[in-house]
């Protein structure tokens, strides 16, 4: 698992370097608003993302995998049940799905110059605000509903109590 994590981190670094190596066709981090100080505008969205659309897609996908692999690391191997794997896989797919949906709707806006609105924001932005955030709620659900199955079972509690008792015994035998 640790090697998989390292591989994804290195892949992510590669995507970052790939992005950095592309010269932007427009100021990538925005330009000052022509009339209002203290405001920055994005300007030509198509020009500034054109060369880094693909690396950014890979970069964020790798980030999502990093989170997923780290969660596997946090669950003891004997508790990595089918239920855990299915739950984590679904959460990861939801997060990836929201990310790809965001990029797809953003690309569509760049192509057409038009956007719909969902819950008060442009569609692509709603995917960011509610899709990516919402997909992560499934991780919370995995934790809460899987708590006694793969986070801290009753057997784990007994094992921990045994560690506490052993430590107390050691301290009473040798207080130093």
């Amino acid at each position: 698992m640790i090697l998989a994590l390292l591989a994804v981190l290195i892949a992510m670094s590669g995507a970052v370097l790939w992005a950095v190596a592309q010269p932007p066709d427009a100021p990538a981090a925005g330009i000052p608003h022509p009339e209002i100080s203290a405001m920055t505008i994005g300007g030509d969205g198509r020009a500034r993302i054109h060369s880094i659309f693909a690396p950014a897609l890979v970069w964020q996908s790798c980030a999502i995998f990093v989170f997923a692999l780290m969660i596997v690391l946090g669950v003891a191997p004997r508790h990595r049940s089918a239920r855990f794997w299915v739950g984590l896989a679904l959460s990861t797919l939801c997060a990836l799905g929201a990310w790809f949906a965001l990029m797809a709707s953003y690309a569509q806006y760049l192509e057409t110059g038009q956007t719909g609105y969902v819950l008060g924001f442009p569609t692509a932005s709603s995917w960011m605000l509610f899709g990516i955030w919402g997909a992560s709620l499934s991780l919370c659900a995995l934790y809460v509903f899987g708590f006694r199955s793969f986070v801290f079972t009753h057997e784990d509690e007994t094992r921990f109590q045994a560690v506490l008792d052993e430590r107390a015994q050691q301290l009473s035998d040798d207080p130093s």
């Binding site: 640790i2 994590l5 390292l6 981190l9 290195i10 670094s13 992005a19 950095v20 990538a28 981090a29 925005g30 209002i36 100080s37 203290a38 405001m39 920055t40 994005g42 300007g43 969205g45 993302i49 880094i52 950014a56 964020q60 980030a63 990093v66 989170f67 780290m70 969660i71 690391l73 946090g74 003891a76 997060a95 953003y106 806006y109 110059g113 008060g120 924001f121 442009p122 692509a124 932005s125 995917w127 960011m128 605000l129 990516i132 955030w133 992560s136 709620l137 991780l139 919370c140 934790y143 708590f147 986070v151 801290f152 784990d156 509690e157 921990f160 045994a162 560690v163 052993e166 430590r167």
Partner: protein
């Protein structure tokens, strides 16, 4: 009511300050030892810990800086808020259980204590302690400055206090903060966090309703106004673009689990099984509070673009201008109290961990035996830290020095890069080594400090903390793989198996 706006605001803030002082006095009676002072005797219930975790996370940034960034750059900064659920989930899956177990078995009172035990290294303890102290000084100085500036702006609105200066406001602010942190330590801190968290939730929810009503068409109309001016601002990556946005997602999201003022709260709950309740409470509190960040920023940007208001002199004025123009005085009073709550809930957490770093973590390897009367020393360190941080804050404000900015860079990104590998991976992977830990902390300090001190402009405006975090994770794992794993004490090995 309008003619008494400032008085109402001052009364609301005053009530809140008195409440926090009262909690400090109550906590004084409950604080009998250093363990009580730093980890509340591991006796806190889920509601207290849940509110403490989220309110410590959201500092003045969430209530001032965040809305200001949305005003200035559109939706870019929300890539700091959106990974919160993922970040908290990660922290609970990987850190909450093990750190609580280690804390109880080894009677640890700080994060450096835990890491020293895990890696069997006093070098790791000292490096972690220094990292925390540097980060705390920067964060604390900016929080004290924010509190002072806001207090001055409130008081200057009344004729009786029109001439009150920043130094006086700083003294008032830090006195209240220091009082309850000094008297009650973490007990006062977390119980004020409970109150602060509830105030923040109430304030954010009410503001969201008020902000949504500024335009007849609600937030959609505000979005459409912004879209007409510059579509990129309201599209998902905002004015700052995709690279900065996704870099923030990674740095902030992963960084939750490495923030000492968050993870030390995990050592304080009564039962490990309470984590099952604490996670959703934390996520709920944070999510509601972020509504203020989004709504004020978007609405203020739109009303300025629309010509309803003149441009703001400073983006950080977005919240105070919104409250004075669009909120009734009572709501403004609650929100200002919420603002102080947000700032103080983070500042007191920093005071506590900073005090632990000064009198416990950094000196421990050099002392032959534990300090006598640790509680008194802890209180003394709280005072020293408060005074030093206030001095740094005022110096930076009056002399325009880069010191707070430099130390401020040792904020979230510094904690994330230095501590995430050790805490998140180190507590869950037996192959993590002491040399890997030292290498990771060193890399994170060099990159973070180097980028700030030499004003290195990273491509696409990426944050130095992001690069440092990515590098330190790779270094930590790689170096650990090629160096010999140190023997793990039997009790900790059993904990890592649970």
């Amino acid at each position: 009511m309008e003619e008494h706006r400032q008085l109402i605001i001052i009364i609301c803030v005053g009530i809140y300050m008195v409440l926090t002082i009262g909690i400090g006095i109550w906590a004084l009676r409950r604080t009998k030892s250093a363990s009580d002072f730093f980890v509340a005797g591991r006796s806190l219930g889920p509601l207290v810990v849940g509110m403490a975790v989220f309110s410590s996370t959201l500092s003045g940034f969430g209530f001032v800086g965040g809305p200001g960034l949305v005003y200035a750059t559109g939706l870019s900064s929300l890539w700091m808020a959106v990974p919160s659920t993922m970040g908290y989930a990660l922290a609970f899956f990987l850190v909450a259980k093990r750190i609580r177990m280690i804390s109880e078995v080894r009677d640890t009172i700080s994060l450096p204590d835990v890491l020293a035990a895990r890696f069997g290294s006093e070098t790791v303890r000292v490096l972690t302690g220094i990292t925390i102290l540097l980060g705390v000084l920067g964060y604390l100085a900016t929080q004290i400055l924010a509190m002072s500036i806001v207090l001055r702006s409130i008081l200057n609105g009344m004729e009786a206090f029109a001439d009150i200066g920043l130094v006086t406001c700083a003294l008032i602010s830090v006195s209240v903060l220091m009082f309850y942190a000094f008297t009650g330590g973490i007990v006062a801190s977390v119980y004020t966090d409970l109150v602060q968290g509830l105030v923040m939730i109430a304030a954010a929810a009410l503001v969201f309703v008020a902000a949504s009503a500024v335009f007849d068409g609600g937030l959609q109309e505000a979005s459409e106004v912004i879209f007409q001016d510059d579509p990129e601002t309201i599209m998902p990556f905002g004015a700052l673009g995709v690279s900065i946005s996704v870099a923030w997602f990674f740095m902030i999201g992963l960084g939750f689990a490495g923030q000492p003022h968050i993870v030390t709260k995990f050592m304080m709950n009564r039962k490990i099984s309470d984590n099952r309740l604490i996670l959703p409470l934390t996520i709920f509190g944070y999510a509601v509070s972020v509504l203020l960040w989004v709504s004020i920023g978007v609405v203020m940007h739109a009303v300025v673009i629309d010509g309803q208001l003149p441009p703001l002199e400073s983006a950080d004025a977005a919240v105070s201008v919104f409250l004075s123009m669009f909120a009734n005085p009572l709501l403004a009073g609650v929100v200002f109290a919420g603002l102080f709550a947000a700032i103080m809930s983070t500042a007191d957490a920093f005071l506590n961990i900073g005090a632990a770093a000064i009198m416990h973590d950094i000196p421990k390897p050099f002392l032959k035996r534990p300090l006598r009367n640790e509680l008194a020393w802890a209180r003394g360190a709280t005072v020293v830290l408060s005074v030093v941080a206030t001095g740094i804050a005022l110096y930076s404000f009056y002399y325009g020095g880069q010191l707070v900015a430099v130390l401020g860079a040792f904020g979230w990104g510094m904690f994330a890069a230095a501590l995430v590998p050790l805490v998140v991976i180190g507590l869950n992977w037996k192959g993590a080594t002491r040399i890997g830990a030292i290498a990771a902390i060193s890399v994170s300090i060099v990159i973070n400090l180097g980028v700030q001190l030499f004003s290195i402009a990273l491509p696409y405006g990426m944050a130095g903390g992001f690069v440092a975090l990515l590098a330190s994770l790779i270094v930590f794992i790689s170096v650990s793989l090629v160096t010999r794993a140190d023997p793990i004490p039997d009790d900790l090995e059993k904990i890592m198996d649970i």
